[in-house]
Amino acid sequence: MTETGRRRSLVIPAVLGTAALALAAILILYAVTLWVVRSESDAALRRSVDTEIAALADIHATGGRAELLARVGDRLALRAGGGADRSHYLVADASGKRIAGDIARWPLLSAENSQAGFTILADGTPVYGRATMLAPDLRLVAAREYGGRTRLIGRIGLAFLLAGIGIFAAALALAWAGAARLRRRVERVNAAFRAIEAGDFERALPPAGRADEIGALTDHAGRLIHRLGDVIRAQRDVTDQVAHEIRTPLVHLDRQLLRLIEKGVGPALVAALGAVRQEARGIADLLDSLLDIASSEARRGDRAGFERVDLSEIAANIADLYAESAAELGIDFHTDIAPDVTLAGDRMQLSRALSNLLDNALNYAGKGAAVTLIVEPGPRIIVRDTGPGIPEGMRERIFERFARGPESGKGHGLGLALVRAIVRRHGLEVTCAETHPGARFVIAPEEGG
């Protein structure tokens, strides 16, 4: 159904929301982890460099300069075996000129302030180092590479990326499945209601199966639909029985009258009997009209059995049927029918509504009056006459059952009631207004409908 197509499914916001939440959670967790790892490894790096500086300062204090140089040499030799984060040393004089160590140039660290920090050595190696002044002409730098820390952070990032993709996909899938299940369950209720709109009460709503809120909704809807179906069936049965029981004796009466006519009783009697038959049939028609009004009113908004009909063609057909009668009644009858005005409806019912409306106008407008039938896109149907018009107090009442115009003797007074019942079933409304002179009936879509 197009209605479903236009409506946004509840699945999409649910899935998008869950996915966004999962993504945000992963990002926050990653940021916190990164921060902890970074600060912890920085602290460890700092500690190891500070311990080294303290140890070398100790050696210098106890063993003097020669001992320091020897130990620095030992450390560099031992380090040669490799290892992830190598240490680097520089023993320099007051001008920064190298005495021992593997660092070529004094780095951007102040020995006077015993400065520590991240820096880059002359050969481009990034390190964390500390400088210190052991004697007025003796300076020391101990530094350590931190490639391991960078790799660790990279690995953590990669782990988070992979885990994040996994979690995101899982959340997306779970949310999709959950929301889709929810939608399927709600959709069953919707489908049952749509079936009712199409007149199908027989398709019972199956039980929900689960005792949650949607289950309760489904059960409520199911019971309501079931009851509605019962009421409608009962109403139809009673209607059919009443119609059958009243019409059957009329059928017999008609048959007997017809036999009399066929026996060939003189022309005057034949005409009289013909008129009696018409009367008898009028009772059947009255009954049908009443039942049609009741049925149309009960099915207001029920679009079962509707199809796209050409209102212009219907109006032209009815106008054609009435044109000759109008001429005979001395009424100036015109039509102004826009082509291709269509609507979803019941062709026969709409024909009947138009026929009743024209019938009404021709009967009440009077000789010499003009009657105009207008069909406009919208759809809008207007029947305008230049007759005596309808008193203001009557303009609503004429659409009620058995209402009659002030000076009328003919008809059952059901014609306009049926018009209203039919147009309302089509989501339209009929109103009556004064035009000076005459009356103007307008059929147009219901407001807000």
């Binding site: 059995g305 057909n317 026969m348």
Partner: protein, 227 residues
């Protein structure tokens, strides 16, 4: 078209009597039964040109019979008769598988016309391109009417009316039949719109000629007669 073989299922003997008489007068052979079950059995057994079914039978509804017949592969056209004559009831009957639906009370000529029409449709026989009756001619393709060789100008709806009368020439056609076939309407407008339209056609067919050709059958409808 010779006499047809018809099956009629109707529990109301008075109703049945009228239909039996009307069909016999028209030269058809009619099998009547009051029981739905019996009707179903007979319909399944013998070939019938048209089956006429009452909708409400004591033992089985006409709707049920149509459904079962269609399931059993019986393709004979079915005309359903019913005291339920509202548009909704008609739609129900047609949906059940009936080919036509007629409300009671009806006029026998209408029943006969519908039976003929159903049979014609079933055997795929269409009217010829030119229908001749008395001194009148109806040229279906050219959509023209002639009497005594003289062209009679008609509006499209007048021609449709003339053509339908010509197709049923010599038979009574009712107002209901005209409304149904010419204006495609299945309800009866309260006023005498049909009579007025027929009156206009009559003037065109009879003005300037000696003999009347379109007669009113009181209380029933109209009949085209040979001048």
């Amino acid at each position: 078209m010779g006499g047809l073989t018809l099956l009629y299922v109707e529990d109301d003997p008075r109703m049945a009597e009228a239909v039996v008489r009307a069909t016999a007068e028209a030269g058809h052979r009619l099998d009547w039964t009051a029981s739905g079950a019996d009707g179903l059995a007979r319909a399944a057994a013998g070939p019938f040109d048209v089956i006429i079914l009452d909708r409400m039978l004591p033992d089985m509804s006409g709707m049920e019979i149509v459904k079962r017949l269609r399931e059993a592969g019986v393709a004979a056209p079915v005309l359903m008769l019913s005291a339920l004559g509202r548009a909704e009831n008609r739609i129900e009957g047609l949906d059940a598988g009936a080919d036509d639906y007629m409300a009671k009370p009806f006029d026998p000529p209408e029943l006969l016309a519908r039976v003929r029409a159903l049979h014609r449709r079933a055997i795929g026989q269409a009217h010829s391109a030119v229908i001749l009756f008395g001194d009148m001619e109806c040229h279906v393709k050219a959509r023209t009417a002639h009497r005594q060789g003289r062209h009679i100008p008609l509006s499209p709806k007048e021609f449709a009316l003339f053509r339908y009368l010509m197709e049923n020439a010599g038979e009574v056609v009712t107002r209901e039949m005209l409304l149904r076939h010419v204006w495609n309407l299945s309800f009866d407008p309260q006023t005498n719109v049909v009579d007025v339209n027929v009156g206009r056609l009559r003037r065109k067919l009879e003005e300037g000629f000696e003999a009347p050709v379109l007669e009113t059958v009181w209380g029933t409808g109209y009949r085209l007669v040979a001048a």
